[in-house]
């Protein structure tokens, strides 16, 4: 009986720890705060975006101007990315055809 209780307790603690790790992204890479975190927080995994954005940033404006443009639109990245191809708003980054907002967000990530 004590053994079963101990086991149940350990599982509960492990589940709580895993939940906390997920909730507070304890094992995710953390980046210093930036003036653009409201935008960059929409990218769950920033590493590939930084790598991809390094190609996009060459032909795009500065971070401040990019951010201003993205905030002006008002919609979140996923909403924009889904609708843009339907509206013919795609762009080419190093040969990849992507929604315009993907290029902009990735370029922003690469500039920080």
């Amino acid at each position: 009986m004590r053994r079963r209780g101990l086991l149940t307790g350990m599982i509960a603690v492990a589940a709580l720890a895993a939940g906390a790790a997920w909730k507070f992204r304890l094992f995710a890479k953390h980046y210093p705060p930036t003036p653009y975190d409201d935008l960059l927080s929409q990218i769950t995994d920033r590493e590939p975006a930084i790598m991809f954005g390094s190609a996009a940033r060459k032909s795009l404006p500065s971070a401040a101007r990019l951010a201003a443009e993205l905030r002006r639109d008002g919609r979140i990245l996923s909403a924009r990315a889904e609708i843009e191809p339907k509206e013919n708003r795609v762009t080419e980054v190093a040969g990849w055809i992507v929604p315009q907002s993907v290029a902009l967000y990735a370029a922003l990530a690469a500039q920080i």
Partner: protein, 500 residues
């Protein structure tokens, strides 16, 4: 049954007087002869080679290429019975209706008639190339048991279908020489004459009639053929060469009063690995990368083709994009896929990438042309010189179609695309050719714009015709063989009346 005759065994200065002489025993020549076998008219089918490959005959194809690197003149065609079907891949697809249209944005485009003019001949052409029941763009439904079509949002590119000549169970495509040899022998009124090379098309003094043909063999025999009608069916390079070289009555060559013979040569560029297509779920329907054999025997493969509305809207010419092999993504490409998939909220953990191939259409270009060299072959005929061109617009047009394909994949949230080449030198370094020779005796009702009229008759000459893809004024992106056979069957109907 009339056995094949060998011109080398004919006495010197033999004169033959058939009703119809057909120059060239390739798909056009053989189809034409067989179509008229029951016409009651005597038909002489002149073939330069024998029934099998002969190096000496093949050498008569040697020539020179200038401009953009291109297949050697004796490399992309075969000079023996069956012609270039002896090495064709068996890919068949009808030309699209837009290929026949006169489009303002595509200079020199347009046929003298719409596709409906040759549609009645498609079924017989399909039977001659042995590509099974006519399915093509109705194949999507038939193939649905094997999987869904590629997930594309509405737009300019759609899934189109090739059919194949006799590739079922590993049997090679139909080689017209092998396949129709016995039919030719069985036809009482057809005399196939092998090792017989046309060396001159001789006109009447007023230049309005074809009077006789000079024929020679590599063994030194000389024959004269005096047919009522003649059809050149020797392929786009050779048809032009023969017309230009026959310059004793008209100095510019036969049918070349408006300096058009040999111009507008075309082929289908097939640059390799033009793009990479990524499917987020990794599930590529099998009929895009492999043959699909339907229960009715049709052998199919799916490709991606631009819609006519897209071509008109974007002012581009056609293309057919094929999905080839699975390929690996490097770190940057993986980052591009992950970033995009995340933004689209799709799972790309099982994504797979595939290289894309293609067949591009070239816009007509009068400077892409066949002329004659000072160098002569073993029969004393001037060799052909090809000036090959491909414009930056040709690449740009195809790139626009690929971009549209990428947009449609994104809009469907099914995948994305990477374009491999943006610079001219990149395209050229990946270049290969379909060896589909087209356009050198283009068709137009206006003699200032075409060498032959809408009946394939050489303008200004009453009894000389041209068959094959050399009369195509606009080329489309479909492989030409089945289409040129259909056009030849239409010519057969015209000649049947003319000969009667």
């Amino acid at each position: 049954m009339s056995a094949f005759q060998d011109a080398r065994s004919f006495p010197k200065d033999t004169v033959l007087s058939p009703d119809l002489a057909i120059i060239g025993g390739g798909p056009a020549g053989i189809s034409l002869a067989l179509a008229l076998a029951d016409s009651g008219q005597s038909i002489l089918l002149l073939e330069s080679g024998g029934v099998t490959f002969d190096a000496q005959a093949q050498k008569l194809y040697e020539g020179k290429e200038t401009g953009v690197a291109y297949t050697a003149m004796d490399g992309g065609r075969l000079r023996y019975l069956g012609g270039s079907t002896n090495h064709w891949g068996g890919w068949c697809r009808p030309l699209d209706p837009i290929d026949f249209e006169d489009r303002d944005a595509v200079p020199y485009s347009g046929w003298p008639f719409p596709r409906s003019e040759i549609e009645p001949y498609f079924a017989r052409a399909q039977a001659l190339v042995e590509a099974g029941p006519w399915v093509y763009d109705k194949a999507g439904e038939a193939a649905s048991d094997s999987g869904p079509l590629l997930g594309l949002a509405p737009g300019g590119v759609y899934t189109s279908w090739f059919q194949f000549s006799k590739t079922k169970d590993g049997v090679l495509p139909t080689h017209f020489g092998d396949r129709y040899q016995n039919d030719l022998k069985r036809a009482a009124k057809i005399m196939p004459l092998l090792n017989a090379n046309l060396t001159g098309i001789r006109l009447s003094k007023d230049g309005r009639q074809m009077d006789h043909l000079d024929v020679a063999t590599l063994a030194g025999n000389r024959l004269v053929v005096k047919p009522r009608f003649t059809v050149l069916a020797a392929g786009a390079i050779e048809n032009a060469r023969l017309l230009l070289a026959s310059n004793d009555v008209t100095a510019a060559g036969v049918g070349n009063g408006n300096d058009l013979v040999g111009r507008f040569f075309a082929d289908h560029p097939i640059p390799r690995d033009v793009a990479t297509l990524v499917l987020f779920d990794g599930r590529m329907p099998p009929f895009y990368t492999n043959f699909l054999t339907l229960p009715n025997g049709a052998v199919l493969r799916a490709a991606l083709s631009p819609r006519a509305e897209f071509l008109r809207q974007k002012n581009v010419v056609g293309s057919l994009t094929t999905i080839e092999n699975e390929t690996k993504l490097d770190a940057f490409a993986t980052a591009a896929v992950e970033t995009t998939a995340e933004a689209l909220r799709v799972d790309a953990s099982k994504a797979k990438a595939f290289s894309l191939g293609c067949g591009m259409e070239l816009a007509p270009d009068p400077d892409r042309r066949i002329t004659l060299s000072d160098k002569r072959d073993a029969l004393g005929m001037p060799q052909a010189v090809l000036n090959m061109t491909i414009s930056d617009d040709d690449f740009l047009h195809f790139r626009q179609t690929l971009s549209e394909l990428g947009r449609q994949l994104l809009a469907a949230r099914s995948g994305m695309i990477h374009l491999s080449y943006s610079q001219r030198h990149e395209w050229l370094s990946a270049m290969d050719w379909g060896n589909h020779h087209l356009g050198t005796t283009r068709m137009s009702t206006d003699p200032r714009k075409g060498v032959v009229d809408a009946d394939s008759r050489v303008h200004g000459i009453a009894n000389l015709y041209v068959a094959g893809s050399s009369v195509f004024p606009t080329y489309g992106s479909s492989n030409p063989t089945m289409n040129l056979v259909a056009l030849t069957l239409r010519l057969a109907d015209h000649l049947r009346k003319a000969l009667a």
